[in-house]
């Protein structure tokens, strides 16, 4: 049934599956990203549904992080990075001139691939965004928010006695959860998570996955992951990237049981490259 074809025989100009859906929170159209002259994302169009979890998978270096960073304009901070195309959040073009990226990022939170806590105390790390945006009106509320956020990220029990110790002194996995707590504390509408559980043990991973499922009742989540089991467990839709091209988007079930594209099939069966 499967004839062996090398990946370059395959037509990769069109995205297979169902990239477009109704009721989209974010819709990206014909997005292309360049670093200097090097193109990192080719003509990518995808809808991300409201209250859904969309998983992005693909081999290392295929542009998942780059595409994710387009969604909250984090690529603006990289001088050499150029973006073409259109990305709409709630039908508003986020790259329109009148858009303020600062306000946008408060609505579209992000957890980075590498944990990057501030050189502040654990408490201040989590309280940072709330203080910035005036989300709480007094100390008690702030304490509450910090505790709740750490609790939801599954970190509170480990650090509850050391809230005023530096966040950079935590272990890698603890830092990763600290960054998740910090992001959910500002209550964003969309959360972008770049390999949020790459440094976590199975139990902590389960806590975060549960958190994602719970959050998706209210929010929209995009997650980049290298674990296909994780994508299968938490996401409703899955997008497969390959060398800067969006190859296939479909219901997670469909992608894993009945992929349309040869490259997708190669990847999920562990036969890519």
């Amino acid at each position: 049934m499967m004839n062996k074809r090398s990946e370059f025989d395959v037509e990769i100009n069109d995205t297979k599956g169902t990239p477009f859906i109704d009721n989209a929170k974010i819709s990206a159209r014909n997005v292309e990203v360049f670093y200097e002259k090097k193109q990192a994302i080719f003509n990518t169009s995808i809808d991300i549904g409201k209250n859904q979890i969309v998983a992005m998978i693909g081999p290392s270096g295929c542009g998942k992080s780059t595409f994710l960073r387009c969604l909250n304009r984090m690529n603006d901070t990289i001088q050499s990075c150029q973006i073409r195309g259109e990305i709409k959040l709630d039908n508003e073009d986020i790259y329109a001139r009148q858009q303020d990226p600062v306000l946008l990022r408060a609505r579209v939170g992000m957890v980075f691939q590498k944990p990057n806590p501030f050189s502040k105390s654990i408490y201040d790390n989590v309280a940072y965004g709330a203080k910035l945006h005036g989300l709480t009106s007094n100390q008690v509320e702030l304490d509450d928010l910090v505790e709740k956020s750490l609790m939801r990220a599954g970190l509170f029990n480990e650090v509850k006695d050391d809230l005023h110790k530096p966040g950079t002194g935590l272990s890698g996995g603890q830092q990763q959860r600290l960054c998740i707590a910090r992001t959910i504390a500002i209550d964003p509408e969309v959360i972008l998570m770049d390999e949020p559980t790459s440094a976590l043990d199975p139990i902590a991973t389960a806590v975060i996955e549960e958190l994602m499922i719970e959050l998706s009742k209210k929010y929209t989540i995009v997650i980049v992951t290298h674990s296909m089991q994780q994508a299968a467990r938490v996401s409703q839709r899955t997008a497969y990237f390959h060398m800067g091209h969006l190859i296939e988007v479909n219901d997670t079930n469909t992608v894993f049981t009945n992929p349309e594209h040869q490259l997708t099939e190669n990847y999920i069966t562990g036969r890519f490259g």
Partner: protein, 458 residues
């Protein structure tokens, strides 16, 4: 053979030892079933060090002790009755002999002539012996090193151990120098405090050391209240930091966060030039431009400023030390990882919020370091103060008055002819000690603050 030639020859032996050792070890390892413990170059180093180090050490010690040993031997050549003289007279006599021996004239005084010729003989002998001993040691060392090239010799470990001890020696030279300076200053200051009480020195409000040398004059005893000097130093340094810290920090933030790479590459060296301008140039700038300007400004505001003022010196000094703050802070701010900035932006922070709340706290220890460096420069600065703030010790906190500083007074105390043990001269050491303790205190306080801060956030 002179000292430098000996050293050059020793260096040549070192190179020779290295190559011989390496060659030999390669040869040994080829003709041996058991492999050598270390790589060939380590045996090279081993032989080189053996052939050079012992000889060099002996050379240094010999050279250091040479003149004192020879002088004491020279004394023994004098006739009995001369040797009864006091120590000072004897050393004067020896000096005379040394001077005479250099002039090479034939002397009338037959006793001295005899001693001079004996002295010359002694110098000659010592020189020849030294060279002989050093080279014998060098060759013996090389031979020992050569014999050490065997499979079981752990050459790498030996060499590394030696390298470590060399580093310890280098570090201790720096530490010992510091300790030596401190002790000599403390000792001289102790002499000074025999004639002037510590409390008078520290809390006395009147400084006029000149009186001390005009003995018999009315009010002839000098007064050594150093309080005005220390207040003056701190006042001027404070004004300088008041200028330099905000300006330096702001320019560092601009350069590292806002400026384009091209502008930064041009502006940073320009700023650093400020620190390279000789302080005399700043001094006349302060005296001829800034001081009159401040006087005119003050007068137009209805104040009565002195023609020389702490403010003028402080402002110019502040400009001088801007680069210490800006350049160091800029480096440190640039070293804050981009990921930390990204984290802040992703939380919806603006650029200025990110700088204030994430970058500056992360860079603070380095920034404090820069400020500290600037402060010690300001406290030690002399020339600008002489030219722009005056010499008159005036206990005041008014920046429009003329004041003087500790360093300036040290200079005035020690210029011109002085008796070494007069209180006036010794006062300079007491001032030096005070200055040293002040900077030590400042350093300790700020290091403590940095450490405390670090413990909190890192």
């Amino acid at each position: 053979m002179s000292f430098s030639v000996t050293v050059i020859v020793l260096f040549a032996l070192l190179l020779l030892g290295y190559f011989v050792g390496r060659k030999r070890s390669i040869y040994v390892s080829k003709n041996n079933t058991k492999p050598l413990h270390s790589l060939p170059q380590y045996y090279g180093y081993l032989v080189a060090l053996w052939s050079c180090l012992p000889a060099l050490l002996v050379l240094l010690v010999w050279t250091a002790l040479n003149s004192s040993v020879i002088s004491s031997m020279t004394i023994s050549y004098f006739p009995e009755q001369v040797q009864q003289l006091s120590k000072d007279d004897l050393s004067l006599l020896v000096n005379e002999i040394i001077n005479l021996s250099e002039s090479k004239e034939v002397l009338q005084d037959s006793m001295k002539q005899a001693v001079v010729s004996k002295y010359l003989h002694l110098v000659e002998l010592s020189q020849q012996l030294k060279v002989g001993v050093v080279f014998i040691l060098a060759f013996v060392g090389m031979f020992i090193g050569f014999r050490l090239i065997k499979p079981h010799t752990r050459a790498r470990n030996l060499v590394e151990k030696l390298v470590r001890w060399t580093m310890v020696a280098c570090a201790s030279i720096a530490v010992l120098t510091t300790i030596g300076i401190v002790f000599s200053v403390v000792f001289e200051a102790h002499q000074f405090f025999k004639s002037v009480s510590i409390s008078e020195f520290v809390f006395g409000a009147h400084w006029s050391p000149q009186g001390a040398i005009r003995e018999g004059q009315v009010g002839g005893s000098g007064s050594f209240g150093a309080l005005p000097l220390f207040v003056g130093t701190l006042l001027i340094s404070f004004i300088a930091l008041l200028i330099a810290v905000p300006l330096g920090l702001m320019s560092a933030i601009y350069l590292s966060e806002y400026a384009t790479d091209k502008f930064r590459a041009f502006a940073k060296p320009m700023l650093e030039i400020l620190a390279g301008i000789p302080t005399v140039v700043y001094g006349f700038f302060a005296a001829l431009t800034v001081a009159p300007f401040i006087r005119d400004m003050g007068e137009s505001l209805g104040l009565q400023p002195a023609s020389e003022s702490a403010l003028a010196a402080g402002i110019v000094m502040g400009v001088m030390i801007i680069p210490f703050v800006s350049s160091l802070s800029d480096d440190i701010i640039c070293a804050v990882p981009q990921a930390m900035r990204d984290g802040s932006y992703a939380m919806g922070a603006t650029k200025s919020e990110t700088i204030r709340q994430v970058i500056i706290p992360a860079a603070l220890p380095g920034i404090v370091g820069g400020v500290l460096l600037a402060a010690s420069r300001a406290i030690g600065e002399t020339m600008i103060v002489v030219m722009a703030a005056g010499l008159f010790a005036n206990l005041t906190l008014n920046p429009l008055q003329a004041v003087t500083t500790v360093t300036v007074q040290i200079v005035t105390l020690l210029t011109g002819d002085q008796e070494f043990d007069s209180p006036k001269t010794l006062a300079a050491f007491a001032l030096g000690l005070g200055l040293f303790l002040t900077t030590l205190l400042l350093n300790t306080i700020s290091l403590y603050m940095v450490r405390k801060y670090r413990e909190q956030y890192e």
